[in-house]
Symmetry: C2
Subunit: 243 residues, 2 copies
């Protein structure tokens, strides 16, 4: 691998260059396989000989560079990676009419990339294929988001925009988790709806709060002051889906 190729790939660790090049990185064995087998356009795969031998069928038609483990960790963000790294095109965002029979999540400034990635994984588990997100929410193509999502970024679409507008345009009933809501165990969710989760420190913003039709609370029995937002999302999704 030439120095300029290494430098180019490394630059995609930064949002500025991802935006400029409209490319992002996918790292590690499982995630690379998921993205190769998804609808995403994979520009290049860097991989070890071992990975190549095992998955050469799936790499057909994709530009592939054989590299060492050290080279993978040099250009990527993972501490260890003995498999592969893919350079992938960021798909063009399309506007989308929401389905009145589906569940959607809406993220009001989720800052932490790990939380966003975990929420993608939870959404994917429960078959939620679209998430609405405020502009201030962590960027989907941040390597930490991609890594935490464990491949779920290939199945869950995140639509970024003015969250107030996105939610209003959906015309769906809106649920939100707040401190003073109704016990989530006693609520039956409408089949088509948007469920809002707020910022890690500040919760749901006042602008978005006014859109909420049904306030929810996860019952607390013990002493913890709060639940992590990804935990809350998991619990709420499980409750929404069980009806």
């Amino acid at each position: 691998m030439s120095k300029s190729v290494a430098k180019f790939i490394k630059s995609l660790q930064l949002k500025k260059y991802r935006k400029q090049e409209q490319l992002f990185l996918v790292e590690g064995l499982k995630s690379t396989l998921e993205v190769i087998n998804s609808h995403f356009n994979v520009r290049t795969v860097l991989c070890t000989e071992q990975f190549y031998e095992q998955f050469s069928q799936q790499l057909k038609g994709i530009e592939t560079l054989l590299v060492t483990e050290n080279q993978l960790t040099d250009v990527g963000t993972l501490r260890s990676n003995n498999a592969a790294l893919a350079v992938v095109e960021i798909p063009v965002a399309k506007s989308k009419k929401l389905d009145t029979n589906k569940f959607y999540l809406a993220l009001d400034d989720i800052n932490d990339p790990g939380n966003l990635g975990t929420i993608l994984r939870v959404a994917d588990w429960y078959g939620i294929d679209t998430i609405l997100a405020s502009e201030q929410t962590a960027e989907l193509y941040n390597p930490k988001v991609i890594s935490a999502s464990k491949g779920s970024f290939t199945r869950v679409e995140v639509i970024y925009g003015d969250l107030e507008r996105l939610i209003s345009e959906s015309q769906l009933p809106v649920y939100g988790t707040l401190m003073e809501g109704d016990n989530i165990h006693k609520i039956s969710f409408k089949k088509g709806c948007v469920i809002v989760f707020g910022n890690e420190a500040n919760g749901i913003s006042s602008k978005i709060k006014t859109l909420i039709d049904y306030k929810l609370t996860i019952p607390k029995i013990g002493g913890a002051e709060s639940l992590n937002v990804a935990m809350a999302a998991a619990i709420v999704c499980d409750n929404a889906i069980r009806n």
Copy 2:
């Protein structure tokens, strides 16, 4: 702060020295306040002038060293800490008879400190005050566990030992999350029970599997291969508590 004091505190970032000194670190504003107001014996608090002025009442009777933010991040593990760090005594482990009317979690080699901390927080939210853990489970006093638990380590006790023995001695019914279990939405949990969670990569070990009376599965609708173990714990606790 003298160099030797700084070196001593820094050494407690490592398990070896925590074990030798029977001390551990608690960092950041909220966690420090939680531990000061808990049953733990706090040996020393290092804090900024601002923290001291705000909380001097609560610091009464505790050896307190005024330091700068830089000194806090130098000796501690957090990237930023403008408040405090406590040096706390590891309590002596006592044997304990489990209550036949309570829920307990059992952790079969949970390796990741972040996962253990998050599970403590979830347990605390749902009023679960005791967790059984295999010897190979991450160490409770690892700074990453303490930090992720957000103070819940002061309310949730972790009993380490031979997990097979700990579970058997409890004489409680045992639930475990497995791929091929019954839908968790259709199960009613017995009031006194142990719920087992397995290792991040390998799940529940075969030795522990033989102890499981009720196999559980979180229903999966979408494409994610798995849920993170802390997510699974949150969902299972919510289901157990709702009955």
